[in-house]
């Protein structure tokens, strides 16, 4: 256990600038999305128990806390997808490695506006 915490701590405190942020965010986003996926399969499973059970459970996702978490989910999915594409490009065309840092900023330039737009529609009902 101590060993696991030590290697986790080393992974977080290592100073690697963009490449390091990319790695930490990719991992955290992946784990976060996986956690939601398990919940998501469970909530869709509830359709087999009938309309009332399903609709009642879905109410959970309209709660303000759930909506804020949803914005995190949108960021996580979009970031993980486009940073994953960056990893694929570097892996299959190793000469692009010199642009690894610039490509990470490009990933952010794609992820943040998509998160902002989808996040707006997710949070807007809270202010109606």
């Amino acid at each position: 256990m101590g060993q696991a915490i030590a290697s986790l701590w080393k992974g977080i405190t290592y100073r690697g600038r963009e490449g390091h942020y990319a790695f930490i965010l990719h991992r955290a986003a992946g784990l976060g999305v996986l956690l939601f996926l398990v919940l998501h399969v469970f909530d869709i499973f509830l359709v087999t128990l009938g309309e009332d059970v399903f609709n009642e459970f879905l109410q959970l996702y309209t709660h303000p806390v759930a909506r804020v978490l949803e914005v995190g989910l949108i960021f996580g999915v979009v970031y993980h997808a486009f940073n994953g594409l960056r990893i694929i490009i570097i892996d299959f065309w190793p000469r692009t490695t010199v642009y690894a840092r610039q490509m990470w900023w490009l990933v952010m330039a794609i992820t943040l506006p998509i998160t902002a737009i989808a996040g707006y529609f997710t949070l807007a009902p809270l202010f109606h």
Binding site: A4, G11, F45, I88, I90
Partner: protein, 142 residues
């Protein structure tokens, strides 16, 4: 510098040998590229086009039993299988990175594998067993 970059902040080096770990390395990239298309589309469809507050039982009825029902069931099966195998394989890599004691490593990966199998079966059961509820208003329309 070798062309095979082996630095954790860039990406994971491809394992040699052509065995399961090499397959796993390629699988993450192929399934990841597919998920970039189908998972991001699914996310934007549900959160921007339909919006979460409008999703209810009828959304599922329309999606799975409408004229495009077979297509959407296949689409959702692809999402289920690729997202969960990709996700749980990623979790396996994370466990290997931080849990070094062989006993704990094997135990936690075993629990994760069991959870992966249960969740995928549960999702597949939901997709294939769903039937449109009998329309109770059928005769009142006459």
């Amino acid at each position: 510098m070798n062309t095979r970059i082996n630095h954790r902040t860039l990406s994971r080096a491809k394992p040699d040998g052509g065995g399961f770990e090499t397959f796993s390395w390629y699988f993450m990239r192929v399934s990841g590229a597919l998920l970039l298309l189908i998972a991001v589309f699914h996310l934007l469809l549900m959160h921007v086009y339909i919006r979460v507050e409008n999703i209810d039982f009828n959304t599922v009825v329309t999606r799975w039993t409408g004229p495009w029902g077979a297509f959407w069931r296949l689409y959702d099966l692809a999402l289920l299988v690729f997202a969960l195998t990709h996700g749980f394989n990623g979790l396996r890599w994370v466990i290997d990175d931080y849990i070094h004691r062989p006993g704990w490593n094997a135990l936690i990966k075993g629990v994760a594998l069991l959870l992966a199998v249960v969740v995928i079966l549960m999702g597949a059961y939901t997709i294939f067993s769903f039937r449109a509820p009998a329309p109770s208003f059928a005769f009142s329309l006459r």
